[in-house]
């Protein structure tokens, strides 16, 4: 039981990661793929945030006597990664808009068959 609940966050990370990854691979719709990619990235955010946390740790403020504190660096790092994730998602969505204008569809198999005709 300890392995299930003691590492609860990490189990969530694994489940989310695999769900997102599966959606990226299997989805046919380009927007759904991006949603999957987002879930995949979010799982990594949780991984980083969980590993910085210590039970009973306080905020990292300089005080007289030494105390147990939560490491803020992973949290700060993940802020950067969240920004990167937003940039990726918005760029991906912008590309989907352009693809929709160019092909009239955002279903991968239809785009694929349209592209195949072009290369013949």
């Amino acid at each position: 039981m300890a392995t299930v609940f003691g590492y609860f966050n990490y189990w969530v990370v694994v489940v989310l990661m695999m769900t997102g990854f599966y959606v990226v691979i299997s989805a046919n719709n380009l927007v759904k793929k991006l949603v999957g990619l987002n879930v995949f990235q979010t799982s990594v955010f949780i991984l980083y945030i969980s590993m910085g946390k210590i039970f009973g740790g306080t905020a990292p403020i300089l005080v007289e006597q030494p105390v147990v504190y939560t490491n803020p660096i992973p949290h700060v790092l993940i802020l950067t990664a969240i920004v990167v994730g937003i940039a990726t998602t918005s760029l991906g969505l912008a590309l989907v808009v352009r693809i929709n204008e160019a092909y009239g569809t955002i279903e991968e198999d239809e785009i694929h068959s349209l592209s195949e005709e072009e290369s013949l």
């Binding site: 990854f21 990226v24 380009l30 793929k33 990619l37 995949f40 990235q41 990594v44 991984l47 980083y48 590993m51 660096i73 992973p74 790092l77 950067t80 990664a81 990167v84 940039a87 990726t88 760029l91 991906g92 590309l95 989907v96 352009r98 693809i99 160019a102 092909y103 785009i111 592209s115 072009e118 290369s119």
Partner: protein, 492 residues
């Protein structure tokens, strides 16, 4: 002079928004051009300084390492910085005619192309120069996001789907790298690479570290298009504009390979990577299959740009093959081929840029008779092609030579045979282009003129560099050997 390492990255970074707000494509081009040649100058000075005095360590914002971000330059990344900035500057010099005519952007958005180009250069230089693992991820994403934008500006609508596909694969790769860095941080409590290198051996028997190693290898493998992970590359290179393809094929995958080298040799150490994890057993077959299958597929392409894209996958295979030998000669071959392949592919793709500037898409049948109508362009293409094959007196020969010697040193003569055999496959696909261009009559009803000088001069500068570095090998082979020695921690 003390702040050269910071300027190397900051200069193109500041230039990017300036390009965007300038509003006129010509002005933006001139600004970007000035900045990129200045970055080239800086990287040349840095390489000179490193070769004279050894490692340069620069504390960003005066915060000392390991808490602050350290820029750490040794002979390996000084050499990489020189490659990236040189190709960036030369390709940008040729960019204007192609951006003016062959890019799907409205006139008022063209300055943004140069802004994206500068950001991409910033990201690549930053990844190379930094000594901080998380910084690598941030710069990787800067360069990746801007390269998706650059690729999507191609005229063909398939450029959009290629950019989208690259975005998905690239983000998965980058996220894998992020996971790897996170796991390393959990185990060591540091992000500084020099610090990581000291602390990793203490925890090298833990499963977490093995998992981190696997995630990093696969993530970087995706970015550098290692054989089964190369699927994004052919479309992205085939449908992106020629200047973008020339720039990315010569720099982006190379910088990813540099990250791989840093990781295997500096962070984890050759002992762990090749003795404990037996990486050579994975990389060597992948490299050989990659070389063989990509070269074969290249032979059957009708789009010449796509053909060269597959050839890039094969050439990356040669570099990985050199690395997987994990010996001084093998590593020298890999690092020298980084340099030589950058020259070769930039020459070939720029020559194709000249071709598509005059005849439209770089289809094989459209190239009939170009040997007569565009003699200078095709001559540059042939020089690049010869160098790709590895004919003596060209730079491509140098790296193939070291590769064969390295394989023979290990007693792997079948590998050496395969290197020679696959070079023959390169002869076949380059010959197909030469045959069409020189032995078929040009179409009668249209007049094709030679490409403008603005394109021809940079293309020829690169073609001549191919010949020059085939004879004068102190830079590509000499510094490569020193870099290999630095990575392996031995004297050259």
């Amino acid at each position: 002079m003390d702040h050269l390492p910071a300027l190397q990255v900051v200069l193109p970074l500041f230039c990017a928004p300036l390009c965007a707000v300038l509003g006129r494509a010509n002005l933006a081009w001139m600004l970007a051009l000035a900045a990129s040649w200045l970055t080239f100058l800086i990287s040349a000075l840095l390489l000179h300084e490193v070769l004279q005095q050894g490692v340069i360590s620069y504390a960003m914002g005066n915060w000392p390492a390991p808490l602050g971000i350290e820029y750490r330059i040794d002979s390996v990344n000084a050499y990489m910085l020189l490659i990236v900035s040189a190709i960036g500057a030369i390709v940008l010099t040729a960019a204007r005619p192609i951006v003016d005519t062959r890019i799907r952007l409205p006139e008022n958005k063209k300055p943004w192309f140069y802004a994206a180009y500068m950001l991409c250069l910033t990201g690549l230089l930053g990844m190379t120069i930094t000594g901080d693992a998380f910084n690598v991820f941030v710069f990787l994403e800067i360069s990746s996001l801007s390269s998706y934008v650059l690729i999507s500006t191609g005229r063909d609508r398939r450029a959009l789907t290629a950019a989208y596909q690259y975005l998905i694969m690239g983000t998965i790769g980058a996220t894998f790298i992020l996971i790897g860095i996170g796991l390393l941080y959990v185990m060591t409590g540091t992000l500084n690479m020099a610090d990581l290198a000291l602390r990793i051996p203490q925890v090298s028997n833990t499963r977490t570290l093995h998992v981190a190693f696997a995630f990093l290898t696969v993530g970087v493998g995706l970015k550098l298009a290692l054989f089964p992970l190369h699927l994004w590359l052919p479309n992205a290179y085939a449908y992106g504009p020629s200047v973008v393809t020339a720039f990315l094929s010569a720099t982006a995958t190379k910088v990813a390979i540099y990250i791989l080298l840093r990781m295997f040799f500096t962070l984890f150490g050759a002992e762990f990577s090749f003795k404990t994890m037996r990486l050579d057993l994975i990389l060597l077959p992948l490299a050989l299959i990659g070389i063989f299958s990509a070269s074969l597929v290249a032979i059957f392409q009708t789009n010449v740009k796509r053909m060269l894209a597959y050839s890039s996958v094969a050439q990356i295979g040669y570099i990985i093959l050199g690395i997987s030998l994990a010996s001084l000669t093998g590593l020298t071959a890999g690092i020298a081929h980084l340099f030589n392949h950058a020259l070769i592919k930039a020459t070939l793709f720029l020559a194709l840029g000249c071709v598509s500037f005059r005849v439209g898409a770089a289809k094989l049948e459209r190239m009939a008779g170009l040997g007569r109508t565009m003699p200078w362009t095709m001559a540059a293409f042939v020089i690049g092609g010869l160098s790709l094959i590895g004919v003596p007196l060209t730079s491509g020969f140098i790296s193939k030579w070291y590769l064969v010697v390295g394989a023979l040193e290990r007693g792997w003569w079948p590998v050496a045979m395969l290197v020679l055999l696959t070079s023959l496959l390169a002869v076949i696909y380059i010959w197909r282009v030469v045959e069409v261009a020189y032995f078929k009559p040009p179409p009668e009803n249209e007049v094709i003129r030679e490409a403008p000088l603005a394109l021809l001069i940079p293309t020829w500068a690169l073609a001549l560099a191919n010949l020059y570095f085939g004879l004068e090998t102190s830079l590509n082979a000499g510094v490569a050997r020193q870099a290999a020695a630095t990575l392996l921690g031995v004297t050259p």
